[in-house]
């Protein structure tokens, strides 16, 4: 006789009066394959935990975003936000699709240049640009987005030393009716600071003012704010043309589009509430098209969205280390991924699920990482099937920020593979070894030996 599949025996308290978080129990569908490749085989081949990126998902999402904007606006350009994920393989997929590079440090600038992005296709943002960074950016005709007056004066100063004319835009912050208001980057719109900065650039004669830039926030769940922001930038463009007869070449709306992850504290899941690219595109393009900018002077529209383009393409697969019961009887499952690798666990209710059908039985579980730290929680209070030691899990939507913000802490950072368009796996970043760490260290002569 065929034996029946084994399922752990369980008993659960039925909540009577107190509303529990969960109504009828629902099944958590396992995710066994990515682009046709079994996650189990990837873990067997490359180790656990393992970051897995899907090239086809990146390209599909990019095309979707590009279509949403380009079908509504005549001149659209994306620039890949390096800080969101600067693995060269990832950047180059975006560059192949036609995206420029958007960088916020000298390091990122050099990384983009080393990838082969030409200077005039690099947008240099952020408050941290050294004099040498700026000089290099000017010489390479990169697009410098000025963050503050000190930087503006530095560029004016450099423009007397360097042969090439600096190509500049300013970053503008503004009230778009959202919380928190981002007013620490760029020049303020409402108090006239931005207009002042534009006039000083025009007065300097040596600088080419080519664009206007804003970046209104992060994880925006409302499109209305973009509409307001685009209208305000359009107003400035119109004023520039009126006063100086100057037509700007582009308006850069930055990024900040939310991905489909669920924020901690949100009531509805992100898959239900996150606006689509079409929603964002409609808000931004309708504001520009209906502005007073003359139709034949409509500037190029640049978008630097990072998270919404890459989050879905990233997966983190790994292994259950142990199960235990907490003092109140709740289940705790310990996995081999902690907040050192999954930084976004601090603000998302990550979608974590088993990779094979294990059990219909769900239990209120807290999922802990392997670090010896109390804050190492991947999911608190989630209805989760009863995984055994050695079973595998996969976390979805981890493509943004994790492989740039991860820490080498207590453990080494694992391998990253990318599945190509045919579903073939390529190692795109090797797992760290003891050598990776030790090769950076220098132990003084007198500390090299000891006797225990």
């Amino acid at each position: 006789m065929e034996k029946l599949p084994f399922e752990r025996p369980t008993i659960q308290k039925i909540s009577a009066g107190i509303p529990s978080k969960h109504g009828i129990s629902r099944k958590l569908e396992p995710l066994s394959h990515i682009d046709g490749l079994s996650i189990k085989s990837l873990i067997d081949d490359y180790g656990s935990p393992l970051f897995i990126l899907s090239e086809s998902s990146i390209r599909k999402t990019y095309k979707e975003a590009y279509r949403a904007f380009s079908s509504r606006y005549p001149n659209v350009q994306f620039a890949w936000s390096y800080k969101t994920n600067y693995l060269n393989a990832v950047c180059n997929v975006f560059h192949q699709e036609g995206a420029w590079a958007e960088v916020v440090s000298g390091f990122e600038y050099d990384k983009a240049a080393a990838n082969g992005v030409s200077g005039e296709s690099i947008i240099f943002n952020g408050p941290d640009k050294s004099k040498e960074d700026l000089r290099k950016a000017i010489q390479n005709s990169s697009l410098i987005h000025i963050d503050h007056f000190d930087e503006l004066y530095e560029i004016i100063h450099l423009s007397r030393e360097v042969e090439e004319r600096p190509k500049v835009a300013i970053r503008i912050n503004m009230d778009v009716g959202v919380y928190p208001k981002w007013d620490r980057f760029g020049f303020n719109f409402e108090n006239g600071e931005a207009w002042d900065a534009l006039n000083r650039i025009k007065a300097s004669k040596n600088l080419d003012l080519i664009g206007l830039h804003t970046h209104i926030g992060t994880y925006m769940m409302t499109t209305e704010a973009y509409k307001i922001a685009a209208s305000k930038l359009a107003q400035l463009a119109v004023s520039l043309e009126k006063k100086h007869g100057h037509v700007i070449q582009y308006i850069d709306m930055g990024g900040g589009f939310a991905s489909k992850n669920t924020l901690r504290g949100a009531y509805y899941p992100g898959t239900d509430t996150t606006p689509s690219f079409d929603d964002f595109a409609e808000a931004i393009t309708s504001a520009l098209m209906s502005s007073e900018i003359k139709p034949d002077h409509l500037p190029m529209l640049i978008l630097e969205t990072g998270r919404a383009l890459i989050d879905d393409a990233g997966y983190l697969a790994g292994t259950v280390l142990a199960n235990k019961r907490l003092s109140d009887g709740r289940r705790a499952t310990i996995i081999d991924t902690g907040v050192n690798l999954l930084f976004t666990a601090f603000w998302y209710e990550h979608d974590i699920r088993p990779i094979e059908p294990i059990s219909d039985q769900m239990e209120d579980t807290t999922i802990y990482g392997p670090l010896c730290m109390n804050i190492d929680v991947i999911r608190g209070n989630v209805m989760f099937p009863l995984l055994k030691k050695g079973d595998h899990y996969v976390v979805r939507r981890v493509g943004a920020y994790n492989t740039t913000q991860w820490m080498q802490f207590i453990n080494l950072r694992p391998q990253i593979v990318m599945l190509d368009m045919k579903g073939k796996a390529h190692l795109v970043r090797k797992g760290e070894t003891l050598d990776t760490i030790n090769s950076q260290e220098i132990t003084p002569e007198h500390l090299q030996n000891f006797n225990l």
Binding site: K3, L4, P5, F6, E7, R8, P9, T10, I11, Q12, K13, I14, A16, N323, R325, G329, Q361, K388
Partner: protein, 89 residues
């Protein structure tokens, strides 16, 4: 392996659907099918050897795994005060 099997408290009501009612505390619980099966085997006075023989024959499971989850299950029953309190003889 235990010499004595745990005993389910006598006044605990257990229905065929796996619904458990404890009249002492007023709490209700829900058992999954294997939980219910194990409770029945315990109530029938089976030893752990007999119980595991039945389950090993019926399910895709090894002795070590069964041991582990059996004790986790019993610990939970104990936590919910559904077992007879053992008296030190």
């Amino acid at each position: 392996m235990p010499n004595t099997m745990p005993k389910i408290r006598k006044n605990i009501a257990i229905s065929e659907s796996g619904f458990v009612f404890d009249p002492l505390s007023g709490e209700s619980y829900s058992l999954n099918p294997l939980g219910l099966e194990i409770i029945h085997l315990i109530k029938n006075g089976q030893t752990y050897e007999e119980l595991s023989e039945v389950l090993l024959a019926k399910y895709e499971v090894d002795q070590e795994t069964l041991d582990r989850y059996f004790y986790d299950f019993i610990a939970t029953l104990k936590q919910f005060n559904l077992l007879e309190v053992e008296t030190d003889a």
